[in-house]
């Protein structure tokens, strides 16, 4: 695959163009990567495709090998894998809190204990997500390092 980078004038809007024979998984991965770098993650709701700003995402959940992005009120399906999002959003205050959830810690209102050594995060929209026992220490460490 040839990569061409062309300098354009200050007045023009920056763009990325991909020339391909077929839009396959590989091309979709590149598109998703670029969108993520731009601060958006693509997701679908119904038939419509949306670019969801990372700052609006509350958490990403994986259910039955499908990933879902949750914002304040909406839920979008996305093609990416949870571990990919975990890696991509590491520097943006997202943290893995259980086997199936990556959480935006900026959307957490408070934390309270749940049963059996687990903790429950109350989000700004009133939703609750569980930090499983395995991830509690990593969560504590992450927050204490940030302060």
């Amino acid at each position: 695959m040839n990569i061409n980078v062309k300098k354009i004038g200050e007045t023009e809007e920056e763009y990325i163009e991909i020339g391909c024979h077929v839009r396959d998984g590989r091309i979709n991965d590149i598109v998703r990567f670029v969108e993520n770098l731009d601060g958006n993650i693509s997701g679908t709701k119904g038939e419509k495709k949306y670019a969801i700003p990372v700052t609006e995402i509350f958490y990403i959940e994986s259910v039955d090998n499908k990933s879902f992005i949750y914002s304040s009120k909406d839920c979008y399906e996305t093609t990416g894998k949870l571990y990919e999002f975990e890696e991509l959003l590491k520097g943006r205050n997202f943290l893995r809190i259980s086997k199936s959830v990556v959480l935006n810690i900026m959307k957490v209102e408070s934390i309270r204990p749940a049963l059996n050594g687990r903790f429950s995060c109350i989000l700004r929209n009133g939703e609750e997500v569980i930090i499983s026992r395995k991830y509690v220490n990593a969560f504590k460490e992450f927050i204490s390092k940030k302060v």
């Binding site: 810690i105 934390i111 026992r133």
Partner: protein
């Protein structure tokens, strides 16, 4: 697995402390003149060890639902009751004549089991409070940085 062992170690120390308290209270109430030997100091430690065995054995990598957790706790309590009662009275000692003693011990075990859960909950509550405070401080510092930009 590491967290599981840590959890059980913490439970062990809580159980040892609580068994000591139970021995002190029950002893003072029901047998204040009873003389005890040095070997009596081993009882809380042995009870602590026996009390964590079901928890150690019933390790599950899976995240349990609330319902599964309750069922698991009930099974765990029944196992602990059986192990400690057998340890204290022996298989031959579990007779109708000893019913009062057996009942008293079984109730003590159940009370300690519940207290361990309650004490752990209060520890977790304290941790949650610290985590929330740290999180708030971080969110505010980040918001201040954003404002400066």
């Amino acid at each position: 697995m590491k967290e599981h062992i840590k959890d059980n170690l913490m439970n062990f120390f809580i159980i040892v402390t609580l068994v000591n308290i139970v021995i002190f209270i029950c002893g003072s109430l029901f047998a204040p003149d009873q003389k005890i030997t040095y070997s009596a100091f081993l009882v809380p430690i042995l009870d602590g060890l026996l009390g964590i065995i079901p928890g150690l054995v019933m390790y599950s990598k899976r995240e349990l639902t609330l319902k599964q957790m309750i069922v698991r706790n009930v099974i765990q309590l029944l196992s602990i009751e059986l192990i400690i009662l057998l340890f204290t009275f022996g298989a031959s000692g579990l007779k109708f004549q000893n019913l009062t003693l057996i009942t008293a011990e079984a109730v003590s075990i159940a009370v300690i089991f519940v207290l361990v859960i309650v004490i752990r909950f209060f520890f977790d509550k304290k941790s949650a409070k610290i985590m929330t405070a740290d999180l708030k401080a971080f969110q505010e510092s980040l918001a201040a940085k954003e404002d400066q930009k």
